[in-house]
Symmetry: C2
Subunit: 415 residues, 2 copies
């Protein structure tokens, strides 16, 4: 199952960013499972990683290398997460980087490794080393779609988002900041993720590139802001991956400079790309039959808005009711009631399902009928809006229902 | 489904505590769904209630009444939780109490109401009022088993625990404390609960009586200590009920006094009864095919031991793996890694499944094989032991797996 968004979007290549895929036969012989990405010189690179204390070997290697250099290559394998593999896992990730370094004549620290797939098995490193030359040979600015397919695990669809847009800016080399003519840049990204989705400052795996010219610090700020409106607002099951990484590359090849003056326009477009990718992960969430938006409004502060939103989004009882299209608002109330926030007065809570007022001041709305609730729940996209009447903070989280398909996928995952 | 414990245990009646059941036809015509319990004069009563901010009307009424008097009657209906029902729900609960007060000539504040069942529907109060006389007529010290059946909702089995035991004590009226002869008392309890099980200082519904003579304060202390080793250590889905209540009545009819001198012996026996009842809820957990014990050992403190235990116990990915008898230790590690504790070094973590060392120092144990894991997972009762190597605190939590049966039960609950 999966909900909405059937076709692969139109992709704008990003000058200075190339992708090449190959088949290493890590888990299946017949599919591409290896991607190498090449980053032009003088690019800026920002990355966010999982906050899971149990993080995979490639995450450790990538974090360390990123602290030393702006990378020149990224390498991603699917089919094996290289997590829970100790010192051997670190060596395996380093060997992968060293091989690319040798083939392309860069420093090994300038290659960042990423892995996704089953946890606790050693990486079939030799298979990867053998396939790297073909992946490098395939490097191409039009390699996005092939790469989007090649990084999937339990995902059923590739996920991409791409935009060309004008922002007020100047071209590098000129200094006419004041005139701010409209100049065009491109933002293109791919992502993978459908289970173990509760990004914690990052997502499963996502790689985004732009041809804008922007320094590392500003790029990191943009990525953090965008992640907090997108990848950090999705959950399938509350489980957090060991391998989450979100990477943003700015090649500068358009010559268009992003600085403090046009930062907000750049950031808004980046956020839009990130939201599309994050929502695509939820629409393809394991077993998802519903795309569920949880809005918590009129909260006192950010923490309590998110606490309520995630408690509802991750309640197994709310999720099974959603899967059955049952407007069981009592379960939503019970989840709100156990959220860890102080002095919540349930008699002030209103709940809407789509446009239907279901709960008013803590009890069933006078106008509400089971029939109305049932109709509201039939749509594939459902919004649950919870008004707390405590303040003016609002937060949105996206999630899925819980049904038999989730159980089937996750019971059979390793068999 | 349900796991273990097929037969109803032998029950020792408690002198001074009577139970009467009747059929009010609240949800189904053909079953008993109403229980009245009569508490002898001069009893002591302690109770713990749900901490869900969205609590049911009867909880509010019972809390208020308990603050004023030691109750004389308890009344329980199943089939309707009387939660999310606002002022009308309060009135409905009060009318139920008033009717018993009228029939038995006690103050209405001396009747505590309890409800369990579907949330958000008004109580069919007239049906209950009409059936109360038969329930009162049926009051009998041998009414435990009928009552245990009558309070069930999605439970498939009645749950009871009963013990007669000797403790060093003196009889009321004598003052020979120093000799401490062995005297006998009885502890008998029933419980209901199989979904929305994460008691927060209480459980779904449980009523326990003893013929010991003990004052209110000491009784409350015993109940709180026992709850923290039993009802507060179980979870099916992390969802917390709106109606949880745990009541302990001490009639004093045995004449055996419990005081500071023999408190620990009394408390240990009470804990044993509570653990049996709490575990019975888990064994009958919605869709449960496994009875899962999560032990977190060598934690720094209580909070972090419980945080790790509950994060693992409630991880949908761990639970689906358990349901599939898949020793997917990577998911256990990923859950431990996202638990909110500071500076956890995953490379010090060991994990046992039953007696099999699966993870040693953060990675697959050298001796471990998939076959060994698979064998360990085949049993109906599974213990996952997690050693953190940080301190000397240990905590145990009991939970279930997550399978198709859980989804089926909770998708169909209101239809």
């Amino acid at each position: 199952m999966a909900t909405g968004l059937d076709s692969f979007p139109k992709i704008y290549p990003v000058s200075g960013f190339k992708l090449g895929t190959a088949s290493a036969g890590i888990k299946e012989i017949s599919r591409n499972d290896l991607v190498v990405m090449q980053i032009a010189e003088n690019s800026a690179v920002a990355a966010l990683f999982t906050k899971n204390a149990f993080c995979a070997a490639p995450i450790e290697v990538a974090r360390n290398s990123l602290a030393k250099h702006v990378p020149s290559y990224l390498v991603v394998n699917t089919g094996n997460a290289n997590a829970g593999t100790g010192a051997r896992g670190i060596r395996d990730a380093q060997m992968t980087c060293a091989k690319i370094a040798e083939l392309t004549e860069v420093d090994a620290d300038k290659v960042l490794p990423f892995s996704t797939g089953v946890i606790g098995e050693y990486l079939p490193t030799q298979l990867i080393l053998d396939a790297l030359p073909s992946a490098i040979e395939a490097l191409n600015e039009d390699g996005w779609e092939a790469a989007a397919w090649s990084i999937l695990t339990t995902d059923t669809r590739p996920k991409a988002s791409s935009k060309r847009f004008a922002i007020p800016s100047y071209h590098a080399g000129t200094s006419e900041v004041t005139t701010s003519p409209e100049t065009h840049i491109t933002l293109t990204g791919i992502a993978k993720g459908s289970g173990m989705i509760k990004p914690n400052m990052a997502t499963m795996l996502s790689f985004i590139a732009t041809d804008a010219s922007i320094d590392n610090e500003l790029l990191h700020r943009a990525l953090t802001l965008a992640a907090n409106k997108s990848f950090n607002r999705i959950t399938v099951d509350g489980d957090t991956s060991t391998n989450d990484a979100l990477v943003l590359v700015a090649t500068g090849h358009s010559g268009v400079v992003v600085d403090e003056l046009n930062f907000s326009q750049f950031q808004a477009n980046l956020e839009s790309v990130c939201v599309e990718l994050a929502q695509a992960c939820i629409r393809d969430g394991e077993g998802a039959a519903k795309f569920v938006t949880i809005v918590v409004a009129n909260a006192l502060n950010l923490d309590e808005a998110l606490e309520v939103a995630y408690t509802v989004a991750e309640s197994p009882l709310v999720k099974t009711a959603l899967g059955a299209s049952d407007a069981n608002w009592g379960r939503i109330m019970a989840a709100i009631g156990r959220a860890e926030i102080t002095h919540l007065d349930m008699e002030k809570v209103d709940i809407y399902i789509n446009d239907t007022l279901v709960v008013h001041q803590g009890q069933r709305s006078a106008d509400y009928s089971e029939e109305a609730g049932s109709i509201a729940m039939q749509t594939e996209d459902i919004e649950i809006k919870i008004l707390l009447d405590r303040g003016d903070v609002s937060q949105t989280v996206w999630t899925t229902d819980l049904g038999h398909e989730y159980v089937r996928i996750n019971a059979d995952y390793r068999t």
